[in-house]
């Protein structure tokens, strides 16, 4: 079974479990939710995610987060500079392996967050990251349900687990991450003190 499918199955079973217990489970203890947030932070601040969740307008690249070559810019909508959209080089999916390990990766709607809500994750402390994720003025107006959908289903987010080439994938299994995110958000998104 390939990894996305496996992830999908894992996710489905978790959601099913959550649904079974929805008749009135006790809200997860705050401590457990805060502990779960550590996993959320690990994912959000992984190079696969944070390279595009940047302050300013210059995305990063590679596992070591170097400034994206070619002076690549966020642009007016997050889809790159006018005249050099991300799609110039980044297709709908990763290039075939025959193109070599350095071909640009691809996923649907390859882009950065738009300039109005940059969803900056890079360099934030755990409390600051936690507040940012919940802040609708920064997260694109998303409530917890929308956030959960974003991390569960967005094809560009999912790419972080199948980045292709020599890129390091997000190390936490996607299903685990989603479960932890859900645990945290179901508890109302409590933020760690430090």
């Amino acid at each position: 079974m390939n990894r996305p499918l496996r992830n999908a199955f894992g996710l489905a079973s978790l959601l099913a479990l959550a649904a079974c217990g929805s008749s009135g489970p006790p809200a997860p203890p705050k401590e457990a939710a805060i502990a779960a947030f550590a996993t959320v932070q690990q994912v959000f601040q992984h190079p696969r995610c944070q390279n595009c969740h940047i302050p300013g307008d210059a995305p990063l690249q590679f596992d070591n987060g170097l400034p994206h070559e070619m002076g690549v810019a966020r642009g007016p909508t997050g889809h790159g500079a006018q005249g050099l959209p991300c799609s110039t080089c980044h297709g709908e999916k990763n290039a075939p392996a025959s193109y070599g390990p350095h071909a640009p990766p691809g996923a649907p709607h390859w882009a950065l967050p738009p300039p109005e809500h940059k969803m900056v994750t890079i360099g934030l402390s755990a409390p600051a990251l936690c507040e940012m994720i919940k802040n609708k003025s920064e997260n694109g107006g998303r409530d917890f349900a929308a956030l959960l959908k974003h991390v569960s289903e967005d094809k560009l987010v999912l790419w972080g687990w199948e980045p292709g080439g020599n890129r390091v994938a997000v190390p936490v299994p996607h299903a685990d991450f989603v479960a932890k995110f859900k645990l945290w958000s179901d508890a109302g998104g409590p933020c760690p003190a430090t």
């Binding site: 006018q82 050099l84 290039a95």
Partner: protein
């Protein structure tokens, strides 16, 4: 078989799905103005337009553009009369010339998205095109000139 429209002409090509568009254009459509420079979207010499938007043909599988419309440097104008080409000639931009098809295709895409670009806009849109001869200063000036010519 892949069907593709190149410079307005629709053709069938018997090529593998995952072959880069660049080699279909060069080795099967025999349009050699689109150049091979790096094979990994680093240099921009292979830039073509997909429905008007720039695309690095060297990392685009044929399957991703099947049934779509591609424009190459040969399709830009019949007689080098496109304002970008005119500006290039006026400002004596080219040197060895190998990168210039890509530079011109990128410049055309920029002007379409931003008809009156600033230097910063040009930097942002044209930094994906390498020129080892170092014609950047003239490329920049020619993009501005092409913007003027396009308005005229």
């Amino acid at each position: 078989m892949v069907s593709l429209t190149i410079n307005g002409k629709t053709q069938q090509f018997d090529v593998p799905d995952d072959m880069p568009l660049l080699w279909l254009i060069r080795d099967f459509a025999h349009l050699t103005g689109t150049k091979f420079g790096c094979g990994m979207a680093q240099c921009g010499a292979c830039t073509v337009h997909l429905d008007g938007s720039p695309l690095r043909a060297c990392v685009t599988p044929v399957s991703a553009v099947a049934g779509k419309s591609i424009t190459t440097i040969e399709g830009l104008s019949a007689d080098a009369s496109h304002p970008v080409q005119q500006a290039w000639a006026e400002l004596d931009v080219v040197q060895c010339g190998y990168c210039q098809s890509g530079q011109i295709m990128s410049a055309v895409a920029l002007l379409k998205a931003k008809p009156d670009p600033s230097d910063a806009d040009i930097d942002a849109a044209m930094s994906g095109n390498i020129c080892r001869c170092g014609t950047y200063q003239r490329v920049r000036a020619a993009v501005h000139r092409a913007a003027e010519l396009s308005k005229a």
